[in-house]
């Protein structure tokens, strides 16, 4: 290992294009994730926000473009280098993805046991510290199936910070949480970044929560980045698309309706009135 270069931007994405089958998910997008900050990626569901996290984690490869993590181009790394690099990042999955055959304690100890030779006494101290941070020290002996959704997410968060990674990728951390869990997670993400200088990427479509914790926001829709800036700048943004998303209007540049044939036509299709309607329409 040579001298550790000091990158201002931990992740840099240049001209990324990604397709799933024939469908273009990202069309030539570029963005940077500054070190030590909370960066949010927002956008309507189904535009592949999670895909972006998987691309950064190297689980899928892009069609073209660079994904630099601390200066290393993730898609070009060999298997071994990729696994080395992954030790420096972690991901909080939407489902939590706890190992169902292990207790809460063993789940959090798992990455530490895999990647270090620390004695069990020290591992126990680390695990208890991580559990304390998410307020679940009392739940150490529970099995994942005994946890509520919110608790599972918090245990998963404790596991993802077990090895003190440089980068944490949060996949929809607020989705389906009750207000209390939501508050805990919002506070944790912010304090991890402030206290430990962790770099966080939060993928989400929960506008108020993201506005409250993000340092910088990218809004993605229709394969492109349609808006970016600090929360204040995003609120002031004039673009109709950004406004629609931030203010949660049902219809706008992102249409309320999935593309479909005419409503009237479809309803009356194949009926006498329909035939009549077609005739009258033909007359026009």
């Amino acid at each position: 290992m040579t001298t550790k270069a000091n990158y201002d931007n931990l992740v840099v994405i240049n001209n990324l294009t990604f397709k799933r089958g024939d469908r273009v998910i990202y069309d030539d997008i570029s963005l940077v994730i500054p070190k030590g900050k909370v960066t949010a990626i927002m956008g309507p569901s189904g535009i592949g926000k999670t895909t972006l996290l998987r691309l950064i984690g190297g689980q899928i490869r892009p069609e073209s473009g660079q994904i630099l993590f601390a200066g290393k181009d993730i898609p070009k790394l060999s298997r071994k280098e990729l696994y080395e690099t992954r030790k420096r990042m972690s991901m909080l999955f939407q489902s939590g993805a706890l190992f169902t055959d292990m207790s809460v304690y063993d789940n959090i100890a798992f990455p530490i046991r895999e990647h270090s030779n620390l004695p069990e006494a020290i591992i126990e101290k680390i695990v208890l510290m991580k559990l304390e941070a998410v307020g679940l020290r009392g739940a150490r002996d529970l099995q994942p199936n005994e946890l509520s959704g919110g608790m599972a997410r918090r245990v998963a968060l404790a596991r993802s910070i077990a090895l003190d990674p440089e980068l944490i990728l949060y996949d929809e951390p607020f989705a389906g949480q009750d207000p209390i869990s939501m508050g805990v997670i919002v506070r944790l993400i912010r304090s991890l970044s402030d206290a430990l200088g962790l770099t966080s990427v939060v993928v989400s479509h929960d506008v108020p929560e993201v506005m409250s914790i993000a340092d910088y926001i990218y809004i993605i829709a229709e394969q492109k980045i349609i808006g970016q800036g600090t929360p204040e700048q995003i609120m002031q943004d004039d673009s109709a698309l950004v406004k629609q998303f931030v203010q949660g209007e049902a219809d706008g540049p992102v249409p309320f309706h999935f593309p479909a044939p005419g409503y009237q036509q479809e309803l009356v299709k194949g009926t006498a009135i329909g035939a009549l309607a077609n005739v009258t329409q033909g007359d026009k």
Binding site: F93, A97, T100
Partner: protein, 257 residues
């Protein structure tokens, strides 16, 4: 025209599936194992794949042996040849029924469980999560399960044949009155180690390889939905059962013809 298209598409899917299966197997197995971490994982899988299949294997083995003796006796006694009951039962079990029936039972009991377990781990993002923790799921999840299946089935097949022979003894000697000494001595005389026992073991080793390979691959490759897992589990049982029967014919032709 459409049928031609369908044929082409299915052939391509079959070939790329085979390719993926080979890649999964090779990347799971071709690495230097770490005994300190690997052995506990292997033992845990040997228990859930092998030991947990013991009951079904022992019970079925016993009944198959008893039925063989009953059927064999009624035929042989007509020719006054009931002294050959021992070798008849032993040869059928060692050469055919032991390896084949235990393989079919194993595919249903352990193969389906392996596929469902791995598929569910995929659906709940546990495999992805391992990858992101820089732990290769192929080595951590697939490899110990493959080895456990590969080691268990030949042992289970041997137990199956053994229990079957005792079942036959119970029916033939204790119930129907064939002479016990004759039963054992003619069997000992007629069964050849290389030709009968070794060939049976080779068969069950081949079946073990095929069944566990299909089971772990189907789980790893399944579509991560509840429907996808159910389809993968069914495919494991159907495909491995059919392959076992087809391979049994080929192996028998090579060994005994």
């Amino acid at each position: 025209m459409q049928q031609l298209q369908l044929l082409g598409r299915n052939t391509l899917a079959l070939i790329s599936g085979l390719g993926r299966a080979v890649i999964v197997l090779l990347s799971a197995l071709l690495h230097t194992p770490n005994p300190r971490k690997g052995l506990p994982l292997l033992f845990a899988q040997l228990y859930s794949v092998g030991v947990m299949s013991l009951v079904i294997i022992v019970v079925s083995g016993g009944f198959i042996g008893m039925v063989l003796a009953l059927q064999g006796y009624t035929i042989l006694v007509g020719y006054g040849a009931e002294a050959s009951l021992g070798p008849m039962v032993a040869l059928s079990l060692l050469r055919e029924l032991g390896p084949v029936v235990s393989a079919l039972l194993f595919a249903g009991r352990a193969g389906s469980a392996l596929t469902a377990e791995i598929g569910l781990m995929k659906a709940t993002e546990q495999l992805s999560s391992l990858e992101m923790m820089a732990v290769d799921p192929l080595r951590r999840v697939i490899a110990p399960r493959f080895w456990a299946g590969f080691i268990s089935l030949p042992l289970l097949a041997a137990i199956f044949s053994m229990v079957g022979i005792f079942g036959a003894h119970l029916v033939g000697v204790d119930w129907l009155g064939v002479d016990g000494g004759t039963f054992w001595s003619v069997m000992q005389d007629q069964v050849d180690f290389n030709k009968d026992i070794l060939n049976g073991i080779i068969k069950s080793v081949v079946f073990a390889f095929v069944i566990t390979w299909i089971a772990v691959y189907k789980g790893y490759d399944c579509e991560p939905t509840s429907e996808g897992i159910s389809r993968a589990t069914t495919a494991t049982v159907v495909q491995s059962s059919l392959l076992v029967l087809a391979l049994d014919f080929i192996l028998t032709a090579l060994m005994f013809a």
